[in-house]
């Protein structure tokens, strides 16, 4: 503490006021980059995009106000929107539970105190680190093509002549589901961290009471893990709604064959950057935001009934 500040009552009163002003300055100074980014790149564009969704803006010229026409068209008169919803919901409803189940099962297996845990963990994690890249989507195209690796293996093992899974509209979406499930590693790591939090003595006590591994799993592991399951489920679901690259590469940006891989984001991209219907694409974007918000909110509501927090 400086001696000058202590000399008179006036100075003592002045100092906190000064330091308060300095605090404000420092706080907003350090926050400045984020604040600018928030207003210029997030809040401003969010408001603008909502406004544009009520116009026929095409990137060139002005934006004519057309009210809720874009939304009406989405709801009543857009075949591809319905297809995109179907494809996306199929993808979400298949890939999310499968990924969760796989991640949980492998995490529980790895948590049995086996040697080599870190090696297995690394192997299982690697696909989720590289899986979103173009290279892996390219690889997937070959794997599931008519004469790709999968069919070669099926033929060698079972003598089964498989179709081209990618170019068949009734199977193409499942190759994308598989690609998503293949990336279960990061969820598995979160499950492993959650499993570590469960006190060992709970299992010992249950064991002494004669509870077998199945009972222990359903009565101890699963209930205590519900917060982690919930967290993973929400994150994976949001991620699944936003999936883009894999479908883009596998379908050459078309969402084909016959729109069977037309993810919502892909449709949005086409409307915005291939057809330059910026107004309509903005409306599509807000519909997606509402869908994701709805799913997230529903998860939080449902969490009250199945997620156990021990506090």
């Amino acid at each position: 503490m400086s001696t000058t500040a202590m000399t008179s009552p006036d100075a003592r009163a002045l100092r906190p006021a000064l330091s308060r002003a300095a605090d404000q300055l420092a706080g907003y100074g350090f926050l400045a980059p984020w604040l600018i980014g928030f207003f210029v790149l997030t809040l401003g564009p969010a408001v603008a995009s909502f406004y544009l969704s009520l116009t026929d803006f095409s990137g060139l010229g002005g934006a004519n106000w057309i009210g809720v026409e874009n939304y009406v068209r989405i709801a009543t008169d857009d075949e591809r929107f319905r297809t995109a919803m179907n494809v996306t919901f199929t993808f979400v409803l298949l890939s999310v539970p499968l990924k969760l189940l796989f991640a949980l099962a492998v995490a529980v297996a790895l948590n049995k105190g086996l040697a080599g845990l870190s090696l297995f963990r690394a192997i299982f994690y690697l696909p989720s680190l590289v899986g979103g890249s173009v290279a892996i989507a390219v690889l997937w195209r070959q794997l599931f093509s008519g004469d790709g690796l999968i069919n070669q293996a099926l033929n060698a093992l079972f003598g089964y002549e498989g179709p081209s899974w990618i170019s068949n509209p009734s199977t193409s979406i499942y190759t994308l589901v598989l690609l998503a499930v293949w990336q279960f590693g990061s969820s598995m790591i979160i499950f492993l961290a959650g499993l570590r939090q469960i006190p060992k003595d709970m299992y010992e006590a249950a064991s002494l009471d004669g509870a077998g591994p199945m009972r222990q799993f359903f009565k101890i592991t699963l209930p205590l893990l519900t917060p982690v399951i919930f967290f993973n489920a929400v994150i994976i679901t949001i991620d699944a709604f936003k999936a883009f690259t894999s479908a883009f590469i596998i379908s050459d940006g078309t969402g084909g064959p016959i729109d069977s891989t037309l993810f919502y984001t892909l449709y949005l991209y086409q409307e915005a950057f291939a057809n330059f219907r910026f107004g309509y694409a903005s409306a599509l974007a807000w519909v997606l935001v509402v869908i994701i918000a709805f799913f997230t909110a529903m998860s939080f509501v449902s969490a009250r009934y199945w997620v156990h927090y021990d506090d």
């Binding site: 420092a26 980059p33 086996l114 961290a193 591994p213 994976i236 690259t245 935001v289």
Partner: protein, 295 residues
């Protein structure tokens, strides 16, 4: 393992948990090895196939090329009007700039949120958390129009500048969690020594935060390196393409007739990620485990 053996193992677990039974252990190992094999095979096969001639790619599931040749790499490297070398360089520039931007801007914001007292701090913090959940699609079109008006389309600025404005709220969150764990006594001691907020940030907080800064740096780099969407929208000129965009163009250009070269370039684009994974495996896995981040 047979069903009978499994039942015995299960029965024994009444006294002894299944974890301790050697048979169950062997079963678990076999299962995990089998899953690892299935998971890794496509990746290893892609790398092996990058050394194979085309007819072998479609006739051999083997991981060992019969006559390894690097010609695929030469064909791929020069397969487009602009060499892949240029595109790798572009990716590197963008990724490094994004890492710098994220580290600077996110650590500043996290410092303000955890250590500085100012009006509205909690309000801004809540807003920041809100942006974590928000899908980028909602702001996509106006952001594009903004960058178009600024004349930034077809430059790397739209990929880089937002990162200097702490647009990746996730990293702020990550750093906030870490900064909260740094003892406040250290700040207070620095204040006694006459340090202001800037010096405390530079001399106390940042030096103690290398683990979280490294985690954020590695994830920033990998995610930017792998990003496809932003370069797809903002870069038009093949001279400016990133490696991901180049690879996509190469898929079109070869019309899937030169899979060897395609796999060679695919392998090269994932190579930096592999290397970072091997070097920073612990950091990445701990980063995910402690924060529940995704990718």
């Amino acid at each position: 393992m047979t069903d009978a053996a499994l039942t015995t193992a299960m029965a024994r677990s009444e006294r002894d948990t299944v974890d301790r039974s050697p048979l169950a252990r062997a079963f678990l190992y076999a299962l995990l090895v089998a899953i690892s094999f299935v998971m890794l095979y496509p990746l290893l096969w892609m790398i092996a196939s990058s050394f194979k001639p085309d007819d072998e790619i479609f006739t051999s599931t083997s991981l060992i090329p019969s006559a390894p040749n690097f010609d695929t790499y030469r064909r791929g490297w020069n397969g487009l009007s602009v060499g892949f070398g240029q595109m790798f360089f572009n990716s590197l520039v963008v990724s490094v700039l994004v890492v710098i931007g994220n580290l600077l801007s996110c650590s500043m914001a996290a410092y303000a949120f955890t250590r500085l007292r100012f009006k509205g701090r909690n309000f801004w913090f809540a807003l920041m958390l809100g942006t974590l959940m928000m899908p980028q699609h909602a702001v996509l079109v106006p952001q594009y129009v903004l960058f178009l008006k600024l004349g930034w389309v077809n430059t790397i600025l739209p990929l880089v500048v937002p990162k200097f404005l702490a647009i990746d709220a996730f990293f702020i969150f990550l750093m906030v969690q870490f900064f909260r764990g740094i003892p406040r006594e250290l700040d207070e001691a620095a204040v006694m020594d006459g340090c202001g907020p800037l010096r405390i940030f530079l001399k106390v907080i940042l030096p103690l935060s290398t683990p979280v800064l490294a985690t954020a740096a590695v994830f920033s780099f990998i995610w930017t390196w792998d990003d496809f969407f932003a370069p797809l929208i903002y870069l038009n000129d093949i001279q400016k393409y990133t490696a991901q965009l180049g690879l996509r163009t190469f898929v079109d250009a070869t019309a899937q007739s030169d899979w060897g070269a395609l796999f060679a370039m695919s392998t090269l684009t994932v190579l930096p990620v592999f290397i970072l994974f091997i070097l920073f495996q612990r950091l990445l896995i701990e980063g995910i485990a402690t924060t529940g981040m995704k990718r």
